[in-house]
């Protein structure tokens, strides 16, 4: 039977394309005290997905299916978890992940304008990645830095008191 994972949403067959990455994920999952019972393995799902995203960068259908098979869980359950936690992503992310906080404080202080400005500069929508793979744009709910509102995070770096004018500067900071 040939693999039909290409029919899965947002899919690239990373499992076959990167055998060394697959091996890394496999070694990790094999090191977990898994059993034959899905009920017990369920407890290891999130950390397995965490690892998988760390290894592959994102979680397309084939990776989901791979984790599901290893843990003897249904694909639907794995997908349910991925869609629940905003940390997990099914699409490849840019090298610079720009996240604009849209929590209450930032929202009140004009976070939307900042999001719009990033969209205009990068020519992408929220949740998308630029075609060169450099930037992706997303929104976050409160990063706990309300006193600095509005806040933008680029990877691990936090920018506070951001205005639309500062957007080009932030992008300039993202040197290759």
């Amino acid at each position: 039977m040939s693999c039909t994972c290409d029919k899965m949403p947002g899919n690239d067959n990373l499992i076959e394309a990167y055998p060394e990455k697959r091996a890394e994920l496999e070694a990790y999952i094999n090191s977990l005290p898994l059993s034959d019972s899905p009920d017990r393995n369920r407890g290891f799902l999130i950390q397995s997905l965490h690892k998988a995203q760390g290894v592959f960068g994102y979680l397309p259908g084939c990776v989901q299916l791979y984790v599901a098979d290893k843990l003897k869980l249904h694909l639907s359950e794995v997908y349910g978890v991925i869609s629940f936690y905003s940390f997990f992503t099914e699409k490849p992310m840019g090298r610079y992940k720009i996240n604009v906080c849209t929590g209450t404080a930032c929202f009140v202080k004009g976070a939307n304008k900042i999001v719009d400005e990033f969209k205009r500069f990068l020519n992408i929508q929220e949740g998308e990645t630029t075609s060169d793979g450099k930037f992706s744009l997303g929104a976050l709910r409160c990063v706990g830095a309300c006193s600095l509102a509005p806040v933008v995070m680029v990877n691990e770096r936090v920018y506070g008191n951001v205005t639309a004018k500062l957007v080009p500067e932030i992008l300039n900071d993202c040197a290759e």
Binding site: K7, G61, Q64, L75, F84
Partner: protein, 578 residues
């Protein structure tokens, strides 16, 4: 034992029992919505999501959900304090604020638990107004329609699909207001491993999961002068149809049903039971052949399209195991179009074959490519037991007052062996009856194989069939099928023959049967009705059906003949397991 009081009435119950069950013991009804318990299959869905069942427990600051709160010694529960009543109403009100409320045109109208609650709880206006979730309807399959605007997130369907059936199609995805139950990646059902058993439809309390309806197609065919329209009715339909008309569960209404179908305008009213007898002829021939050769064992039954699709997805390496015999529905279609049409002197394309089935997977089965020849399907339209009841009502036929009448000949003649196809264990028992006669070469008198009867999920028996020891198993519900198949795969169990039905309890609990909302005593009654009907038949062995004997003499030759293979057998396709 735990002693407590509910509404000041003392009651003693076992440890671990919930407030809901303790109240039931006292005859006190606490409203529920997300909770469902299927006693005879030992399944309980207790997700506690709806909070409709809240009650007041003395000394506790918060109301307690009765369906998932275990009783404690000395508990003092009040089910109808003002606080509890108001909280329930608020819950319901909030649920309704995000519900389309188009009951008048909903497929579950009058069968909906949410509607019933609104009525029982005397909710006469919806106070909260707000955003309503909207999703695209999923009408991708021939069998199951998903309209998630109506979903109340009770997640009963998840338990049906993932826990009972272990098919694993449905899961809660996304969160907050966006949360909904869907297949992975929001794929349409026809692109998943869904087997269309419809157990999720039976579980869904509202109109979010329903069948794809073909009632109008039937009316169109009946009004087409150029077509000869014949209908077949499956065994389990006669044991449940009456429920839709307020007739006591467990009543056999074959006679009234046949009269109603004639009044609706079908040219011929036939019985799938005839084809069930035919299935036994082919399947038993294959069974005896395989047992004698000791090859490709065990033989698995192939009557249930839900089970067949499950095997194709989940155990693709075992697809050599099922009998190649088509299901009775498909055999009927093939014989109607290739034999009976000839007898009538009409072209197969001028005949429309309609099936009335307890099943939603049959809608999918009839549309499978294998079952078409030159663009002409063996079975053209499939409606469920519920749809037939709807049509009878629409036609203004007063079902309860109808006289009984008999099926037409020749495809209406059948035996007791065929009737029990509708219950788990029935197909195997029917095959054993015929096998016993064929192996012994006599008319064997012991034909009641009690060991394979009953609604339990897995039954095993070593039966002596005319001196031959046959190890057999019967299994219903796909979770049980999975367990059994794993054991076979690992070499832990050996059998000669196994009957598998996708629906727990068999077709009497099919996805197209009248809704019973967790009252599994109704299933017991349907089962008893079918075995009673078997007992009442003059002929109780498939191979003694005179019309079947004639069909072989006139047309097919021997069971397993070349022509029989061409018309009555099929093949299976491995599929991905998601």
């Amino acid at each position: 034992m735990v002693n407590l009081k509910i509404n000041d009435m003392p009651v003693s119950v076992d440890d671990g029992v919930t407030i809901l069950e303790a109240a039931q013991k006292l005859g006190i009804k606490i409203p529920t919505l997300c909770h469902i318990k299927l006693d005879c299959f030992h399944v309980e869905h207790r997700c506690g999501s709806c909070r409709i069942c809240v009650v007041e427990v003395a000394g506790r600051p918060n109301l307690a959900p009765a369906c998932c709160t275990p009783v404690l010694e000395g508990m003092d529960v009040k089910t109808n304090t003002l606080r509890a009543i108001n909280a329930r109403r608020t819950m319901l009100d909030l649920l309704l604020s995000d519900h389309p409320k188009d009951c008048l045109t909903c497929a579950k109208n009058l069968d909906c638990q949410l509607q019933k609650l609104a009525q029982e709880m005397n909710l006469h206006q919806v106070l909260y107004k707000g955003e309503q979730s909207t999703y695209n309807k999923d009408l991708s399959s021939q069998a199951i329609a998903r309209d998630l605007d109506k979903c109340i997130m009770c997640r009963r369907c998840e338990t049906a699909c993932n826990v009972v059936q272990t098919v694993g199609v449905l899961s809660g995805v996304d969160r907050g207001f966006e949360a909904v139950v869907a297949p992975a990646g929001y794929k349409p059902l026809n692109q998943t491993q869904c087997v269309f058993c419809g157990q999720c439809v039976l579980a869904c309390p509202v109109g979010a999961l329903t069948e794809v309806s073909y009632k109008y197609d039937v009316w169109k065919a009946l009004n087409d002068e150029t077509k000869t329209v014949v209908v077949q009715t499956a065994p389990a339909v006669r044991a449940a149809l009456g429920e839709e008309f307020g007739i006591a569960p467990g009543s056999i209404t074959t006679g009234k049903m046949v009269t109603a179908l004639r009044m609706m305008g079908f040219d011929k009213v036939f019985d799938t039971d005839f084809a069930a007898d035919l299935t036994i002829m082919e399947e038993t021939t294959e069974l005896i052949g395989r047992v004698k050769e000791g090859k490709n064992l065990p033989i698995l039954t192939s009557c249930c399209p839900g089970w067949v699709k499950f095997l194709e997805h989940q155990f693709p390496d075992l697809i050599y195991m099922p009998s190649t015999a088509k299901s009775p529905q498909q055999m009927f279609g093939a014989i109607a179009k290739n034999y009976y049409a000839q007898k009538l002197g009409i072209k197969p394309e001028d005949m429309v074959v309609v099936s009335v089935m307890p099943c939603l997977a049959k809608k999918y089965e009839a549309a499978r490519e294998e079952f078409s020849h030159n663009g002409n399907r063996d079975v053209d339209i499939v409606i469920s037991t519920r749809e037939l009841a709807d049509m009878i009502k629409e036609a203004g036929i007063i079902f309860n007052n109808l006289e009984d009448s008999k099926y037409d000949d020749p495809l209406g003649e059948s035996t007791g062996a065929a009737v029990i196809f509708g219950a788990t264990g029935g197909v195997l028992e029917a095959a054993l009856r015929t096998a016993a006669d064929w192996i012994a070469g006599t008319d064997v008198q012991e034909i009641d194989f009690e060991a394979v009867r009953g609604l339990e999920g897995i039954k095993e028996a070593t039966v002596n069939v005319a001196g031959l020891e046959l190890k057999a198993a019967v299994c219903s519900g796909l979770g049980n099928a999975r367990k059994l198949l794993e054991r076979i795969k690992n070499g832990e169990a050996q059998y000669h023959a196994i009957e598998i039905m996708a629906c727990p309890g068999g077709c009497l609990n099919g996805g197209g049967q009248p809704y019973y909302d967790g009252d599994t005593t109704i299933l017991e009654k349907r089962k008893e009705a079918l075995y009673r009907d078997d007992k009442d038949q003059k002929i109780r062995k498939s191979h003694l059906n005179p019309s079947i004997q004639k069909l072989y003499k006139e047309f097919l030759g021997e069971p397993g003949s070349h022509l029989a293979h061409e018309l009555l057998h099929t093949k299976y396709t491995p599929r991905k397991n998601w």
